[in-house]
Amino acid sequence: MILFLAYCAVLFSFASGLLASLSNQRQCLLALQQRYLKNTSAFINHCLEEHHYPHFLRQAVFILLGLSGVFAVLAGLSVLMSGAVLTDQIGLGLPWLPWHIRFDALSGFFFLIIGIAVVAVSLYGTGYVHHYKEKDHPFAALGLFTGLFVMGMLLVLLADDAFVFMIAWELMSVASYFLVAFQHEHAANRRAAFLYLLMAEVGALAIILGFGVLASFSDGFTFDALRHAELSSTWASIAFGLAVLGFGMKAGIVPIHVWLPEAHPVAPSHISALMSGVMLKVALYGLIRFCFDLLKDVQWQWGVVLLVIGTLSALGGILYAMMQPNLKRLLAYSSVENIGIIFMVLGLAMIFLDNGHPELAALGFLAALFHAFNHALFKNLLFLGAGMIHQQTHELNIDMLGGLIKKMPQTSVVFLIGCMSISSLPLFNGFVSEWLAFQTALQVDVLDNGVLRSLIPVSAAALALTAALAAACFVKVFGLTFLGVPRSRHSEKAHEVKDKGMLAATYLLAGLCFLVGIFPSVIISLINRVSGQLLAQTLPNDNALSWLWITPIASSTEQASYSPLLVLIGAVMAGCVCYWYLRRDPEKTLRIAPTWDCGFGGLTPRMQYTSSAFTMPIRRIFAKAWIIDEHVNKDFDGAMNQEVKAVHYSLHIQDHSWPWLYQPLERGVNKLAKQVARIQTGNIRTYLGYSFVTLLLLLWVIS
């Protein structure tokens, strides 16, 4: 039954894709209708009319997509509730290896994440894709590959053998590649798509090899077989390394993250939302499945690796994000940061697990999955918000925006909520998972290893730095985008989004962000089942997860406790009291006056702080983190060229891993190819010489 729900989710996504691919086939459909259905209902005719058809088709496609999301949520919840492990086989694949399907708590949890995201996106989609011109950007391609993309992600979660896992994984990659290349008239997008697909390929190969290592120590590719592989710790570590490389490539950890900020922003916004919010989670799922499930006995050194990588990614991600003037690129970089945080906490979980503290491992695991969940929520929210802004202003450069809070009040509210959750302020979901992460890190005292005992707190402080920087970053985003005075005509002319669906989607996500922030224990109890199944260890005490408190470590509030609800009540009380007190007599209402301009007059929007101005102190302080080239040239004129007529300022900030990692590789391959090409001389006698020498060589070898 539960499995049936899961299958429904997959099939509906596929169906939506297929339906979308019909968008250019109106004639054929008409022909079919005339051929077969003699007495067609008025509705069908209505749908098939010239000007209605595309509209109805889009509706139908997104409805199907939404259904798949709903079913995914249902399936996920039900499997988490029942705590069952369902397996199945489908008669596809290799003759001796049918597709193995397995649906357990872990998959269920990620089903939940994907489901929510997909529902939101499908609500949002109809309104958003409206402004694409059919001629340049055919809806057929968009819808088809969206469906396949979602289907791929769901299948990855269901896979129970290496083969179908890889098929689903690559389906996901390829489909999303086509979506990244959807607006392929810009060279930048093409380049991004190429880079993306290349990275996906390399990552996938690494993953295959990871499975290969396991498979060569066991019989067959089913996960059951792989689970029972007896590996030496060296081979296990090799497999782990390959897995981190492969899944990390997709998850976008530093320094192999460069494709991510290129690829995610150039897709249509609702796709960026799916890619950044959900696909990264699928990569995470892969890593968890590989490390905690297939490679049973985790080694703490792996944990340290993840911890270090995670810390790097978190810091690097947020620092790079700070410097981006492009809203969607910024969001993409902040995904790198969040993935980094998740990796850190997973690393902690591994360390605790191998040092014999499974309950703390469960805590770390909890924090990681919870943060994954939250990130999916608010990153989707923010990307969808960015999409609305883009749709209304045709502008993503936040130096060109501003003052939107008055033009788009509803959007601004949901976006604000997104910003607050992502910069992990109390009362919102981001804070809870970060709090749990800190709690995990603070349990370091139980460890004996001095290195770990001193390493973990440092990384905890790095986490703190990350959080603070994130807050700064999103103050910048919200402040420059929505507040202040419009900086361009586009943002001057912006209006609130008309489409109900788009607003509904964002409201849904924003509401979830808030509710999860207030009642985290609901989600936590769900995740607890996951860790129960995977680590055979839940949090020490179940009553710790009462609806009111989270006290993850001990049952009493002895060690650490957080009760969002009480906090909320307190806040509301305090707020109301002073509000009521201060607003009590009516004649002291506000007086509206022009802004104080220091008596000079003529404040212009250009006097406001821009993105690069806002982040200038950070840029000065962490100057080593980027490759900055900053130019100020002044045009002089007047007598003796003394007076400055105009000042030109240009700032270009680049990632370190371009010159250090990517360009060397590219150059190397080209050079090698150039060398190799020299054997194709064009002279036939040389060619004969080759075959001659080869013959002699082989003859000499064998005798």
């Binding site: 005292d445 807050a471 103050v475 650490a560 009480l566 950070i618």
Partner: protein, 314 residues
């Protein structure tokens, strides 16, 4: 009963904050041999501001008007967490020290947004600098706090403090480091000399003032009050974590009164020290701040390490 005391303690916090500010100003005046205003001057200012009609820029959005209330209540919530005169209060269980830092972040977030809302260069400058400094200060502070929480193996302040009390006077090198780090952070966070100068409005140097330049009337009052509260919060943190003696562990009237006196005494001393420091030290350039906070972070780290290596080594 407990809840009552908790609420009482919070109100005490709110009520006493301006007094501390007044006392601090007074000390500085003595030191700089100026004629000091009365201790109650801050209260008068607040009252005056509250009764004025606020003027709001025409470019302001709803966020600008709501922000002061949010900031104030966030700070008040932070105050509920910190034990002022008594430990083991129920409110301190609802949120631990990390949440308290969270509240500060919350207030700061909205303060910075409010600064950006009007769209003047001052506001942007202020928020940019504020966010920079705080994002450097936060890890340093957490390092300092973690030293304590790892010693007491809890992040719940009141339990941590009572843990320190039970142990009695132990000379912990880690605490010395942590104390110093926390003081540095407190100075940075509350915008005192040498990081920021609350009394000047010189655009080259001002940080906090630049953000609230557009505020007036009750809004300004709330924000001022919140910042005084923040100052006091840090003071109390330092005082009660590192020398908690005198704080009430039972809720008898005698103990509570004793606790109140004790904390007031400690705060008075701290204020004097701060005043002396502010008189002696000159304000530093903005881009030296990271060295300053880096030093604070280093101290926090040293505290942590010395805890791990010297005190809890296995």
């Amino acid at each position: 009963m407990n809840w009552l005391i908790a609420i009482l303690q919070t109100t005490l916090f709110v009520a006493l904050a301006p007094l501390l500010a007044g006392w601090l100003k007074r000390c500085k005046c003595y030191l700089q041999n100026r004629k000091a205003p009365s201790l109650l001057q801050p209260y008068r200012d607040l009252l005056k501001l509250v009764n004025k009609q606020p003027v709001v820029s025409e470019q302001a959005s709803w966020l600008f008007i709501k922000a002061p209330y949010i900031i104030f209540s966030a700070t008040v919530l932070a105050a509920t967490v910190v034990p002022l005169i008594a430990v083991n209060l129920p409110t301190s269980a609802s949120a631990d020290v990390i949440v308290m830092v969270g509240f500060f972040a919350f207030a700061r977030f909205f303060l910075a947004l409010a600064g950006l809302d009007i769209g003047t260069a001052f506001g942007g400058m202020g928020s940019s600098r504020e966010m920079t400094i705080s994002s450097l200060a936060e890890p340093a502070m957490l390092m300092a706090v973690f030293t304590l929480t790892m010693t007491a193996s809890t992040t719940n302040l009141s339990f941590a403090i009572s843990h320190v009390l039970e142990q009695g006077l132990v000379l912990r090198p880690s605490f010395a480091f942590a104390l110093f780090a926390l003081i540095l952070v407190a100075i940075a966070e509350t915008g005192r000399i040498p990081v920021d100068n609350p009394t000047t409005h010189l655009e080259l140097t001002m940080i906090h003032e630049a953000m609230i330049l557009e505020y007036s009337g009750r809004h300004l009052a709330l924000i001022e009050w919140a910042s005084q509260l923040k100052l006091m919060l840090y003071g109390v943190l330092i005082a009660n974590i590192f020398l908690p003696w005198g704080i009430a562990q039972t809720f008898s009237l005698h103990d509570l009164g004793y606790g109140l006196l004790a904390i007031m005494g400690k705060l008075a001393v701290l204020a004097i020290i701060l005043a002396i420091a502010e008189t002696l030290v000159a304000k530093m350039r903005l881009f030296r701040v990271q060295e300053y906070l880096g030093f604070a972070y280093l101290l926090g780290l040293l505290g942590m390490l010395s805890h791990i290596i010297l005190e809890a080594a296995r």
